[in-house]
């Protein structure tokens, strides 16, 4: 169903009017339900609307107004982003059944552009994980191979787009939770500059690292969605007024021309021992393609890469321990019964409500912020974070963009890494640095390895989404990637 895999196809169909809208909506919902059934369900969604919203003729693409850019387009939203009507559970027992009284700014902007939310997608609880196995409501499976994970934490959004339920989805990224699952599912994933998309309504995991971003099947589609959700928001004090305007990938002439004359940095640290050989081969072929398209490949070094993950696993849990303190069962969410004292009620509510990984990170964060450990961990991590910033700043003085593999391996098998958290953490080893620095970064599928998609990552200096998307669109055109599922109904 092409209209569920491409925005332009969807818009073409939707321009036919109300009947086409209803047909597309029912197809999308049918496809979504399909993924929930069967022996090994993909289980991309935690909730789905019962029926699509009423057709709004005034938003029809025939009108052509800016407000109708996404008229009638079904969009999936990660379940840690607040929506009206559907629950927002964050994949946690603690918030089971919680319905937000307000919608996130990014969701509101999509809806104002005519898009509608088809459902809320599965995730690692509160975004904490790299495989979507940490969801309290069961894992999501990779559409390309149902024995494998879709990556995480936005695994549901990545899978919903990869499986052709929706042409695009919203996700969130704290350490790589958009790029990593997008790479593993073979779709495009974009994490914009910190502050470019409002975080208002994104349930916070680690506020200084959290980003709202998008999934789509192609770079122009991702750019179109991003163009709708970007912009300063007075409800988010960290969203910046320094917004260079709408995102577009339009270039004069052939898209592939966007690579000619560009200097693309290749960071040595991203091609080290952690990198799986198969993935390396695919990444190196993509580098060849970049070179053939007329870009200069420049070896660069980002020495902070080695410590970025450690830095991340201090800063993120520290902020998480504070952000998740509000889930105490007092005002909303799960409240355990039977506690005789206030403190017992807290302990039980949180003890029963949170999963193991969330508890692990809260404990870690609580520890590193305690008066005795603060300097040794938190302040040192902030110092390391400055090094990460500095490395990127230096690199972008000489190159337009950085190219690297998105993940060290293709999607792994369900259960393969669950027992060893630190091994699971390394799945984000190539993605955390861009979150620490707040720079825009994205992944596009660059090939398959053993039947599983491989992602290539592009990173640019802050606020240079347009340049990044232009380069990505050019590379996408040159690579002519074919998804493993292509050809299936």
């Amino acid at each position: 169903m092409g209209a569920l895999r491409s925005l332009s196809a969807a818009r073409e169909m939707l321009s036919l009017g109300e009947d086409a809208y209803l047909e597309l909506a029912s197809l999308a919902l049918h496809r979504a339900h399909e993924l929930e059934g069967g022996e090994a369900p993909i289980h991309a969604f935690l909730s789905l609307v019962e029926e699509p919203p009423r057709f709004r003729a005034e938003l029809s693409p025939a009108g052509g107004a800016a407000a109708s850019r996404l008229a009638g387009v079904p969009i999936a939203v990660k379940d840690n982003i607040c929506t009206l009507g559907l629950p927002t559970t964050c994949g946690s027992r603690l918030l089971e059944g919680y319905v937000s009284p307000y919608a996130a700014t990014a969701v509101r902007r999509l809806e104002e552009s005519g898009a509608w939310v088809i459902g809320k997608t599965n995730l690692d609880e509160f975004g904490m994980g790299s495989s979507t196995e940490n969801s309290a409501f069961g894992p999501t499976r990779n559409p390309a191979d149902r024995k494998r994970v879709p990556g995480g934490s936005s695994g549901g959004s990545a899978a919903a787009v990869a499986a052709g339920v929706v042409p695009a989805a919203l996700g969130s990224s704290t350490g790589g939770s958009i790029r990593q699952p997008a790479a593993m599912c073979g779709v495009v994933g974009v994490k914009p500059t910190y502050g470019r998309v409002s975080r208002y309504g994104l349930v916070a995991f680690a506020s200084s690292l959290d980003h709202v971003g998008v999934f789509a099947r192609s770079v122009p589609d991702a750019a179109a969605i991003l163009g709708v959700v970007v912009g300063v928001d007075r409800r988010d004090a960290t969203s910046r007024p320094r917004d260079p305007g709408p995102v577009s990938t339009s270039t004069a002439g052939e898209p592939s021309e966007a690579l000619r004359g560009r200097s693309i940095g290749v960071p040595a640290e991203y091609f080290g021992d952690e990198l799986d050989d198969g993935v390396r081969q695919v990444a190196e072929r993509a580098l060849d393609t970049i070179g053939e398209a007329g870009a200069r490949l420049i070896p660069v070094s980002l020495p902070s890469t080695a410590t970025a993950l450690s830095c991340y696993y201090v800063v993120a849990p520290a902020e998480a321990s504070a952000n998740l303190a509000r889930f105490d069962g007092v005002r909303y969410g799960r409240r355990a019964t039977g506690g005789r004292t206030l403190s017992e009620t807290y302990l039980r509510s949180r003890g029963e409500g949170f999963g193991d990984e969330v508890k692990r990170r809260i404990l870690l964060g609580t520890h590193v912020l305690s008066a005795r450990q603060y300097e040794a961990y938190y302040l040192r991590a902030l110092e390391l974070r400055r090094h990460v910033h500095e490395d990127f700043r230096r690199a972008f003085r000489t190159v337009d963009a950085l190219f690297a593999p998105t993940t060290p391996t293709v999607a792994f098998r369900l259960g393969e890494k669950r027992a060893t958290p630190t091994e699971m953490y390394t799945a984000d080893i190539f993605t955390v640095a861009a979150n620490l620095a707040g720079i825009p970064a994205m992944t596009i599928p660059i090939g398959n390895q053993g039947g599983m998609p491989v992602g290539g990552q592009l990173m640019c200096a802050a606020w240079e989404e347009e340049k990044m998307l232009g380069i990505a669109a050019a590379l996408e055109t040159c690579l002519e990637y074919v998804h493993p599922l292509a050809g299936e109904a």
């Binding site: 409800r235 004090a237 960290t238 504070a322 303190a325 005002r331 609580t366």
Partner: protein, 487 residues
């Protein structure tokens, strides 16, 4: 101070700023509204909600800082102070810690309390928590979040206060400055817009500062601050004398029994795990922004007092009474003008006495609204030049206040019409004396028999008969003569 031991008291004062909306959201500040009717996702700590800073609160906090001579920092930082409590919706309070809004202010104690300068170490901006009510339901606690997110400033003094009385005096003065000089808060303790925590330590004079201090919470009036500190001073001194140094703890004042009770001991000291608030940028204030917050601030209260003393020779006590609000001092100066100290003292006496009482009765705060300053000046002049006695001056003032906005000419007319001027004509005085003596034959007889203390009583009778108009010096002399001469 208790002999041989030295008390050191520090205060932490929380003051609610007079803003329309809360510190980090647009909810109106109306803590008396029906429970949980002034709330939104932000101040309820709902998932995904984010704070944004209320600029008016920053402005008022900065103004308060300038009123105490604080150095306002060009860059300050919000942090999360973490602890669990049902009325703390986010599990942390957004406050300031390592980098407060302002440092190094000072406030001088009133001269009547020694006039010492007490250093104020910091002023920070923070949000209030909700309010827990444990009495509404038998088994459950009710929480009202109307107060959650209301903007507060916390002012911390150095532990330089030496007595419970000084603590009280400093608080009175702090409130005067915040309420009437800076105009940033109602400072209403009953409504919770001013709250005080105090810490006390006691040491033998020779020792260095002790490693412990006791914090006292739940001090809901200035009187209770003084009583609680006096109680702690006695309790701690006894322990120090007995050679068992008190431990560091937090106590709570129970006004019903006038005692403090333990709340938390050292073992339970909380680790607040401060974290720089990642949802808010650093708070940057330019020099121009800071100085614009101080526009219209009156001079410091102790400068105004000193001026009243120097310029008019008022007593320190009177100067303190008049400087409670800057408008009062300005009103006095407008009334007296170039007049001398005698007139200023007379005007001050009227302001502190009858005029204050008159304002009180009318529930008004502004002298100038009821009585133009020039009219007070005329009244003071008539009092000092002997035209009016204290009794007729009071009567004149009562009539003037009733008229509202009376001019000096109105006062002159009043004095004429009502015949308020003092009478020094011996013939008229003697006739009043005759009446007074004839109405009190028994006292007259006793006085003549040598009971000299009755002279005062009889003098009062003369004044009564004269309607307060008898010129007292001459009347007294004539009365003495009348009593001395045989019947």
């Amino acid at each position: 101070m208790i002999s041989g031991l030295k008390t050191a008291i520090g205060l932490e004062v929380h003051v609610q700023l007079r803003t329309k909306t809360k510190l980090f959201c647009g909810c109106s500040v109306d803590v008396g509204a029906p429970p949980n009717s002034r709330v939104c996702p932000v101040c309820l700590g709902l998932p995904g909600a984010l704070p944004t800073t209320n600029e008016e609160a920053v402005r008022l906090a900065t103004r308060a800082a300038l009123a105490f001579g604080f150095c306002v920092e060009p860059t300050s930082e919000f942090v999360r102070k973490q602890y669990f409590y049902p009325d703390l919706p986010k599990g942390y309070q957004i406050t300031q810690y390592a980098h407060p809004l302002a440092r190094d202010g000072a406030l001088r104690l009133p001269e009547s309390d020694g006039g010492r300068r007490v250093r104020l170490s910091r002023l920070q901006l923070e949000e209030d928590a909700g309010k827990s009510n444990h009495d509404l339901f038998a088994e459950e606690t009710a929480v009202d979040f109307n107060r959650s997110g209301v903007p507060l400033i916390e002012i911390v003094t150095e532990p330089e206060i030496r007595t419970p009385g000084e603590a009280r005096a400093l608080l009175v003065r702090l409130r005067q400055v915040l309420k009437h000089y800076a105009g940033v808060s109602d400072c209403n303790m009953e409504e919770g817009s001013l709250r005080v925590d105090a810490n006390v330590s006691i040491r033998a004079l020779a020792d260095a500062a002790p490693p412990w201090k006791v914090e006292v919470k739940n001090l809901n009036s200035f009187g209770n601050v003084k009583r609680a500190l006096a109680f702690e001073e006695r309790r701690l001194s006894a322990r120090v004398r007995e050679g068992c140094p008190p431990e560091r703890e937090t106590r709570r004042y129970d006004a019903s029994v006038r005692e403090t009770r333990p709340l938390r001991t050292k073992e339970e000291v909380l680790d607040y795990r401060y974290l720089p608030e990642p949802d808010l940028a650093l708070l940057n204030l330019s020099e121009a922004e800071i100085s614009s917050c101080g526009v219209g601030l009156p001079p410091p209260i102790d400068e105004i007092e000193a001026r009243l003393v120097e310029r008019y020779g008022l007593s320190l006590y009177d100067a303190c009474q008049l400087a409670t609000r800057p408008e009062r001092a300005a009103y006095l100066e407008a009334a007296v003008g170039e007049g001398d100290g005698e007139i200023a003292k007379a005007a001050a006496n009227i302001m502190i006495g009858d005029l204050a009482a008159g304002l009180n009765r009318r529930g008004s705060l502004s002298e100038a609204d009821l009585l133009p300053p020039e009219t007070l000046g005329r009244l003071a002049r008539l009092r000092t030049n002997g035209t009016l006695s204290s009794t007729t001056a009071s009567r004149a003032l009562a009539l003037l206040l009733w008229m509202e906005g009376a001019t000096p000419e109105d006062l002159d007319e009043l004095v004429r019409r009502e015949g308020l001027a003092q009478v020094g004509d011996p013939a008229e005085l003697e006739s009043w004396i005759r009446v007074a003596l004839s109405e009190n034959p028994e006292e007259v007889a006793r006085s003549r028999a040598g009971e000299s203390r009755l002279l005062g009583y009889l003098m009062g009778e003369v004044m009564r008969v004269s309607g307060g108009r008898a010129e007292p010096k001459l009347a007294r002399r004539l009365l003495e003569e009348a009593l001395a001469s045989p019947e």
